[in-house]
């Protein structure tokens, strides 16, 4: 047994940290969050150059062929930097879905483009009903003239306004079990009837869209995976993306802990650094416990994904349940221990606080995942 990172993984961490400290400092994050693009062409090209846009894709598709444990390291560093932009949506939602469910031709067409930075993608899955289960998929795909016609509204779709390709989750059949009849379709940017609206978000580093599909016609070749049988692949993609998100949350939480302890060492009140007081010390210790626990569960889930371990779905839900609570609590405590300065726009803490909140509700919150854990342990 070896439950730790390898030397190569530690090197990746060091490289990513240095890169992001230089290229994705607070000023960059703040500038990007004010703009719809969320990133710059230059920054995106550099991510591609580092090999990170294709980190988990096979080499035959222009990727590096690394696993989710490697990815976790990178995600932690991205979370630490509250990195804005369509990395997650492109690499871990749109791209990963194509990798998981796409035909050879679809993979060959899109994955190298994603890995090289030439294309962006996303997954249009959730709807106004805000459900994470198969029953939440009500957008319809009707067969017509050898192709399909998609109709419905997608909500909370990350970076749809930037995506060259949207993988749309739609229902091709009404069946007794909602998992059956779910299909995936590749819809290119600018398709007729496709209406993408960028929504104002509390976490401005994450861009979310409403995606209207008004009789969007696509050819049969746009089908990703088997007709009506896409749910298992989609579930796998979402589980993996969930674990990657947990990695990002751990990185953000770790950074909040560091910012807070550093501040507690220098901020003087009543003649002493506030970190001298137990009221501060004990909260800081709780923060450390929360972040370390979240890491343990996340690393395990990443390993389980790489190994296709039978407990992988359970591991992913345990990690997300824990990380959702932990990051939220940590970010809140971080602000509290900073006092007034922590509540200002100028200080970076609110970026983490807001990211914690948006992450909490992405792919299901702690309550959702605890119920999933209950089911998976046969309660």
């Amino acid at each position: 047994m070896d439950f730790g990172f390898s030397e190569e993984q530690e090197m990746l961490r060091a490289t990513a940290r240095k890169f992001l400290e230089n290229e994705c400092a607070s000023a960059f994050v703040r500038a990007r969050m004010e703009e719809p693009a969320g990133t710059t062409d230059d920054f995106w090209a550099k991510l591609a150059e580092q090999g990170w846009l294709g980190l988990v894709y096979p080499e035959e598709f222009g990727g590096s062929g690394l696993g989710f444990v490697d990815l976790t390291v990178l995600m932690e560093e991205m979370g630490r930097a509250v990195m804005p932009g369509p990395f997650f949506s492109t690499v871990l939602l749109g791209g990963l879905t194509l990798l998981e469910a796409g035909s050879a031709a679809q993979k060959k067409e899109w994955l190298p483009k994603i890995a090289s930075g030439a294309a962006k993608a996303t997954l249009a899955w959730t709807e106004p009903n805000a459900r994470w289960d198969a029953a939440g998929v009500t957008t319809t795909a009707r067969e017509d003239k050898g192709g399909f016609v998609l109709s419905g509204t997608k909500l909370f779709v990350p970076d749809a306004h930037l995506a060259d390709a949207l993988v749309v989750v739609a229902r091709t059949a009404e069946t007794k079990t909602p998992e059956q009849g779910v299909s995936l379709f590749l819809v290119p940017k600018g398709a007729r009837g496709l209406d993408v609206k960028l929504l104002p978000t509390m976490d401005q580093t994450r861009k979310l869209c409403e995606v209207g599909l008004k009789d969007v016609a696509v050819p049969a070749a746009a089908l990703v995976g088997a007709k009506g049988g896409a749910w298992p692949a989609l579930a796998r993609v979402v589980e993996r993306a969930t674990v990657a998100l947990c990695g990002e949350m751990c990185g953000g939480a770790q950074k909040v802990l560091e910012m807070t302890t550093e501040y507690a060492k220098i901020r003087v009140a009543f003649g002493k650094p506030i970190g001298t007081y137990q009221g501060v010390k004990h909260k800081a210790a709780d923060m450390l416990v929360d972040v370390e626990n979240a890491k343990s569960l996340t690393y395990y889930a990443a390993w389980a994904m790489d190994e296709n371990a039978p407990e992988a779905p359970l591991a992913a839900s345990m990690a997300k349940a824990y990380a959702s609570d932990a990051y939220r609590k940590l970010a809140g405590t971080g602000i509290q221990l900073h006092g007034g300065i922590g509540f200002t726009w100028e200080h970076d803490l609110h970026l983490y606080f807001k990211r914690a909140k948006s992450s909490e509700f992405t792919f299901g919150d702690a309550t959702y995942h605890r119920e999933r854990v209950a089911q998976l342990i046969n309660l």
């Binding site: 439950f3 210790a285 569960l297 395990y300 119920e371 309660l379």
Partner: protein, 396 residues
């Protein structure tokens, strides 16, 4: 990252599993609490530990020449996992195995290392820990039990308190002040104290469960030979701290596994108890709480695995390890509270009532769990340690 076992480790697991299946004491009716040994079970537990020892399933990581097996923490982990799966009894000489032995290896003379560890493992000699005093608990360095040199001997006077197992112990890990003129951390010495020496009085203290398994220990001119010093005169603070470090590390394994046993029993309880006419596992709030308990328990296992990995790699334990005891306590106390919640009004009934759930075992475990956040370093002290040593916050 790799959670797989080598073929040798896997074979070891099979051997342990088969042995446990064949050798579990029949009289041990485990109802699945994370049990700390109770007085009425001492005799069974003593025989059980002896059996484990004869089979070579205790002291796995201890050096061979001192009665151990010279194996790695990995085998220890496998053993503990199997013990949990089999719901086997805990070991009686837990302080000897978890604390005294490792500390003697770290600081003992060759003679001490030969003399004590094997009998710790075989349970021929039971150990207790003489640290806390009426006026020195969390602030351990203020301890006042005195040791005054008299020729080849030290004369001990003073009092210890909350001393578990003192009533059956053969030996005590004793911290006493040997030089009151030195700064308080520096004038302390660690003694290996024979509990049969004249002048030692053990008075059982009854605690809130009604059991009397911890004690007051009084020293009245107890003469201890100088050869019983461990780690040098006035070096006791360092030695004592090492003991606590081992306590947190090695007891941690076992404690987690007992938590696992308790959790399994808790899920079992939820499946058969009803509330407002429906089985508890159908209650969404109960499901949330049980799932959280599961997650927290798994989390302890995994955080432990990260710590073990560091040890196996020859590194120092990282920040994740320092919180182990405190997190275990929190998880365990929450679990016991949840057990009471699941029982509902039945939570009021204790051992002796035919109506008591599982013979009242949960009630005892629930009450006993209150001590967890006090014994072995209070949660508040643990948090200070984490804040100061791991996060580098300033000392007061």
């Amino acid at each position: 990252m790799d959670f797989s076992l080598t073929p040798e480790q896997d074979a070891f697991r099979q051997t342990v599993r088969a042995w446990l299946k064949a050798n579990l004491p029949r009289e041990w009716k485990d109802l699945g609490r994370s049990d700390i040994p109770r007085i009425e079970t001492y005799e069974i537990l003593k025989q059980w530990q002896r059996k484990l020892y004869d089979a070579g399933f205790i002291g796995l990581t201890w050096p061979k020449e001192y009665g151990g097996r010279g194996l790695t923490f990995m085998e220890e982990l496998i053993l503990q996992e199997e013990i949990a799966l089999a719901k086997a009894p805990p070991i009686l000489n837990v302080l000897g195995v978890g604390m005294a032995g490792p500390t003697i290896f770290a600081y003992g003379t060759e003679a001490q290392k030969k003399r004590y560890p094997p009998k710790i493992l075989s349970c021929e000699e039971i150990w207790c820990q003489g640290y806390s005093e009426p006026n020195a608990g969390s602030d351990l360095a203020s301890l006042q039990t005195r040791a005054v040199k008299d020729g080849e001997y030290w004369i001990i006077n003073g009092q210890k308190v909350w001393t578990s197992f003192a009533q059956i112990a053969d030996w005590m890990m004793l911290l006493a002040r040997t030089d009151p003129n030195l700064p308080r951390h520096k004038g302390i010495t660690y003694f290996l104290l024979d509990m049969k020496l004249p002048g030692i009085t053990v008075k059982p203290l009854r605690h809130m469960t009604g059991d009397a398994d911890f004690n007051e220990v009084f020293f009245d001119n107890v003469r201890v030979h100088a050869s019983q010093v461990l780690g040098g005169v006035n070096q006791g603070w360092q030695v004592g701290i090492t003991t606590l470090m081992y306590e947190r590390l090695t007891l941690g394994f076992g404690l987690h596994m007992r938590l696992r046993i308790a959790l399994d029993s808790l899920l079992e309880l939820a499946r058969r108890m009803e509330k407002s006419g429906r089985v508890l596992t159908h209650d969404p709030l109960v499901r949330q709480k049980l799932a959280q308990s599961w997650i927290d328990t798994e989390c302890l296992r995994l955080t432990g695995a990260r710590g073990i990995t560091r040890l196996l790699r020859g590194e120092m334990p990282g920040p994740e390890a320092s919180a182990g005891k405190m997190v275990w306590v929190e998880t365990h106390q929450k679990l016991q509270e949840l057990a009471m919640e699941l029982e509902g009004p039945y939570a009021q009934l204790a051992k002796g009532s035919d109506w008591a759930v599982d013979g009242g075992a949960w009630q005892h475990a629930f009450l006993r769990s209150r001590a967890n956040s006090i014994e072995g370093g209070t949660t508040e002290i643990q948090k200070n340690i984490i804040a100061e040593r791991v996060l580098g916050l300033p000392k007061d």
